[in-house]
Amino acid sequence: MIVSGVPRSKRAAIWWGRLMVMTRKELIQLFRDVPIVVFLIYSFTLSVYISGNGLKSQLHNANISVYDADHSFSSRDLIHKFQPPFFSFAGELSSSNEGQYRLDRGTVSAVLDIPPRFHEQLAAGEPTAVQLLVDTTNSPQGLSAASYAARIVAQFGQEASLARFGGSAEASQNLPVIVSDHRVWYNPDQNETWFESISHLLRMITIFAMLLPATALVREKERGTIEQLLVSPLTPLLIMLPKVLAMTVVILCAMAVALFGVMQPIFGVPIRGNLVLLFSLTALFVFTTAGMGLFAATITKNQSQVGLLTLLLIAPMLMLSGVTSPMEAMPPWVQYLMTLSPLRYFIDVVYGILLKGNGLKELWGHVLAMGLLGGSLFGFGMWRFRRQFQ
């Protein structure tokens, strides 16, 4: 900008004033958009609660039905081993065909088939077998149902053979046994709601950080208001930065609500690290992700296009950055690609600060990576912004 004869201090004051009016304008516009505000409030309150409370990947209350052809002491004993919270007993069946039928209908997730002469063979020391049919349409649930059931049956078999050899459980002490004991760090109760609610919060932050500034910019193009800004003395930076600033403020407030309104009081999620650090790094993450959204906004013409494009960017980020499944489990090329995803770093930052109590000492590499990514994305977005109108 060429402003001749205006002192530097006055120019800085004008620049600052412009930044403030533009940011204020973005905030007013956002809060007048009722559907977005409702969606925002829902996403950072109720939806965090639901995902923390409702999303379970552990086995919980799997319906199991039994076809018991033996009706003996041993068969009833085995059936009694399938207990809540893992299994819930869904009744006996009159034939093994009915078990098949119920699996097909989806009313039970496992069927235990105990053959006739089960007790007799067990008592006689003959080998015997039970059949377990498991619905693994939902594979993690099905597989863990199968493995739990296998453990229950194995333990039952072990007890049965011990009873046959030594007659008592104490006798087992004489047998060679390896005990595998583990200690769980950072989340000693293995409380899944912590993990689920934090990853949901991360998802919401990513979506809003990308979408809000992008739609705000595209809306200006769509409605033609951008022309009025372009003929004014605003630089591209002063058109784009206020959008990011406004959305960062909103997202930080929303995160505070989710953290102190839902996650801490209801789920007891601990905050072991420094809060100021957490919020500053969230701001950095929002800035970085917004850069990506703004870039998307410069290559699209209307809100539906930018919505679809950001979806295309967000979906792999959310799936592959390590929120849904661990980074290490992915093929190398995905791991390389994901070094470009700011979320990949932000996940470690948030889990680190909240659960492990990490500080900058452990996280500086991630901070640097996010800063570099954000700077270059924002710079690229600005370059595109200038280009698109020429």
């Binding site: 060429i2 004008i14 533009m22 007013i28 007048r32 009025q228 372009l230 003395p233």
Partner: protein
């Protein structure tokens, strides 16, 4: 026309959108074979009424009868739809942008089950008539606005409906394409015996209709033939020059409701019907200011509509222009363009354009759609870098001091470009902040804008709830927040009602005359171009004619002659004959014909003879002052003729 039974009958029509009443009790009857017009500003209820007649919108009260069928249900509407053609509002909105001209026509024909041989025959005829036959394979999105509308018309009429309903087919189309559109429509309707219901926001198009209804805020203000409507407001239009102009306007406004400044001319509508007494009453109300070049004419239809509107409603909040200590009125050059060029790929949109605009001058840039007007403005205000040439705006070089220019200019773009979800005051404060005004300056300017634009009482209303005319004044206010020395207006008044438009121009002339602001404006309303001090006409990227409105009219008068208006009982067949006989500017206006002649008295017998040969009896023949629209159309037609000659010459 006289014998026909009505094919559309509307009684006590009421349409509400939630609480807002869009149309309140409209009656109308359309007879077979006529072009029936609905005229009125945006939001008058034209579209609602047309959609209900087309059977695509339900209504709340009253009755709509089409071809004798009462349209009261979806099923009733389906029955008449085959006999209807409906062209919705918006340039080419019903067409498919990626399909070619021919594919679009084929699609609509097959949708309407037109038999293949009939399709081939009609397509050939319609394409030839609209001169779109050269562009058969061009994608619709690459057509100009006027061409899109012609294609839209073909697609609406391809199944030869008995009734064509056309919603604002000429909005956003330049005068030449508009005139062309009307000629084609009239010809098609006559040839195929169709009836049409057409709406328009251009008051000067009223003369094109056989009968019309003038709507305002959901009510019919006047209806009948153009002559009948004109007779509702007897009066005369007095035109003269008077200096000082501002003082003369102030004096006249105490007595007359319609006072307009057109460049150096003043236009006053008086209800006197005798020429001499009209002149006398004007002279006496001016006091010691002496009017010169006094002339008295019949009023245009637009003046009549404005008078009707003023009679019906109270005056809109009249804006008192608060006087501001004028910026050092510097009478140097405000804009200078020297050989500006802009290429888009191989296409040259602007070709060596040069002009100068002084401070305090209103400069109008005219031209057909795609002539390059908007591109020139965008280059001057820094939205687009030029490919070549030089320019200075507000004392700064376009190439090196873009930032400085941006601080000194105001710009109002074609589309409304303020924030609809902010209130009036928030919008003004936003732009005050953007232009770096401090707190006390913001407060003073806010006050000034509110009173200048008549926005008092609207401060905290959302911009989206404002009527069109008020929005435009707000946009002007925001463009003026930093007291720019140069103001660019790109089609600022499209869709604004005539009173709103006149109000808007009052503000502009005060800005130019008293504050010395240079104003550069583009417009499609030729009645508005009359307000400019200087005009430049663009054609294919070049400026082809320049001068004040009266100079431009004089040039055409010396080149092609004076404007003659004929009232002929069967005018249409005579058009071709008159053109063949060498008359320029032959055009059909409802039941009247316009043409240009060097010697109207001498040519009269010849004209009567030609009309009689094509079974038309000339009822009256008189000369009229040339309008700028006539000038525009004449110039562009001549240039197109030359261009055709050149291309055929090259081909041969």
């Amino acid at each position: 026309m006289e014998l026909a039974e009505p094919i559309v009958r509307v009684l006590g029509f009421v349409k509400r959108y939630k609480k807002h009443v869009a149309v309140q009790g409209v009656d109308l009857e359309i007879k077979r074979g006529e072009i029936y017009g609905l005229i009125g500003p945006d939001g008058a209820g034209k579209s609602s009424l047309m959609k209900a007649i087309a059977g695509v919108l339900t209504y709340d009260e009253g009755a709509v009868e089409v071809f004798g069928t009462l349209i009261d249900s979806e099923r009733a509407a389906e029955q008449v739809k085959q006999q209807l053609g409906f062209l919705p509002q918006g340039l080419g909105l019903n067409l498919y942008p990626d399909l070619s001209v021919e594919e679009n026509i084929d699609f609509f024909a097959r949708l309407r089950l037109v038999p293949e041989p009939a399709l081939i025959e009609r397509k050939a005829r319609f394409l030839a008539m609209t001169r779109l036959d050269k562009f058969r394979n061009r994608a619709m999105k690459k057509l100009s606005g006027g061409m899109k509308q012609k294609l839209g018309l073909i697609c609406t009429l391809i199944h030869e409906p008995e009734l064509a309903i056309l919603d604002e087919p000429t909005t956003g189309v330049d005068p030449v394409s508009r005139r062309d559109f009307w000629t084609i429509l009239a010809e098609l309707l006559r040839e195929r015996g169709m009836t049409a219901l057409v709406s328009t926001a251009y008051m000067d198009e009223a003369a094109r209709f056989h009968r019309l209804s003038f709507l305002s805020s959901g009510k019919v203000v006047a209806s009948g033939t153009p002559a009948e409507v004109q007779a509702l407001v007897p009066g005369l239009m007095v035109t003269f020059e008077a200096t000082p102009q501002m003082e003369a306007i102030a004096r006249l406004k105490t007595q007359y409701k319609q006072v307009e400044a057109l460049g150096s001319l003043l236009h006053v509508f008086t209800e006197e019907t005798i020429h001499a007494s009209a002149m006398q009453s004007i002279t006496s109300s001016l006091g010691d200011i002496r009017p010169v070049h006094l002339r008295v004419d019949e009023p245009e239809l637009e003046d009549v509509f404005v008078a009707l509107l003023l009679r019906q409603a109270d005056q809109p909040p009249s804006a008192e222009m608060p006087r501001v200590t004028a910026l050092a009125a510097n009478h140097g050059l405000a804009i200078e363009a020297k050989g500006l060029i802009r290429d888009f790929g191989a296409f040259r949109a602007v070709d060596r354009v040069s002009f100068q605009v002084k401070s305090g001058e209103i400069f109008g840039l005219l031209g057909a759609n795609g002539a390059g007007k908007t591109t020139v403005i965008k280059m001057l205000n820094g939205l687009m870098p030029p490919t070549g040439g030089e320019g200075w705006v507000a004392g700064a070089d376009m190439k090196t001091a873009g930032g400085a220019i941006k601080e000194r200019i105001g710009y109002m773009s074609q589309a409304f470009s303020l924030y609809l979800d902010l209130t009036v005051e928030e919008n003004i404060r936003l732009f005050a902040g953007i232009y770096g005004l401090n707190r006390p300056a913001t407060t003073t300017r806010l006050e000034w804008i509110l009173s200048m634009a008549g926005l008092k009482g609207y401060e905290s209303s959302l911009t989206s709830r404002l009527p069109m005319g008020v929005r435009q004044r707000l946009a002007l206010g925001c463009a003026l927040v930093h007291q720019p020395r140069v103001l660019f207006l790109d089609e600022p008044t499209s869709g604004v009602d005539p009173i709103g438009r006149r109000h808007f121009w009052d503000i502009l002339s005060v800005l130019a005359r008293e504050e010395g602001v240079a104003i550069m404006v583009t417009t499609h309303y030729m009645s508005e171009a009359e307000h400019c001090d200087k005009l430049a006409l663009m054609f294919a990227g070049r400026i082809v004619s320049e001068g004040s409105p009266s100079e431009m009219k004089r040039q055409v008068e010396t080149e092609a002659g004076r404007l003659v208006e004929l009232t002929v009982d069967r005018p249409a067949p005579a058009i071709n004959e008159l053109e063949l006989a060498g008359f320029a500017g032959v055009a059909l206006f409802g039941t009247k014909l316009h043409l240009l002649s060097h010697d109207p008295e001498g040519d009269e017998p010849r004209i009567r003879e030609i009309c009689a040969a094509s079974q038309g009896v000339v009822q009256s023949i008189k000369t009229r002052p040339l309008s700028l629209e006539d000038v525009f159309v004449y110039r562009v037609m001549e240039l197109e003729k030359q261009e055709r000659k050149q291309t055929t010459g090259v081909a041969a």
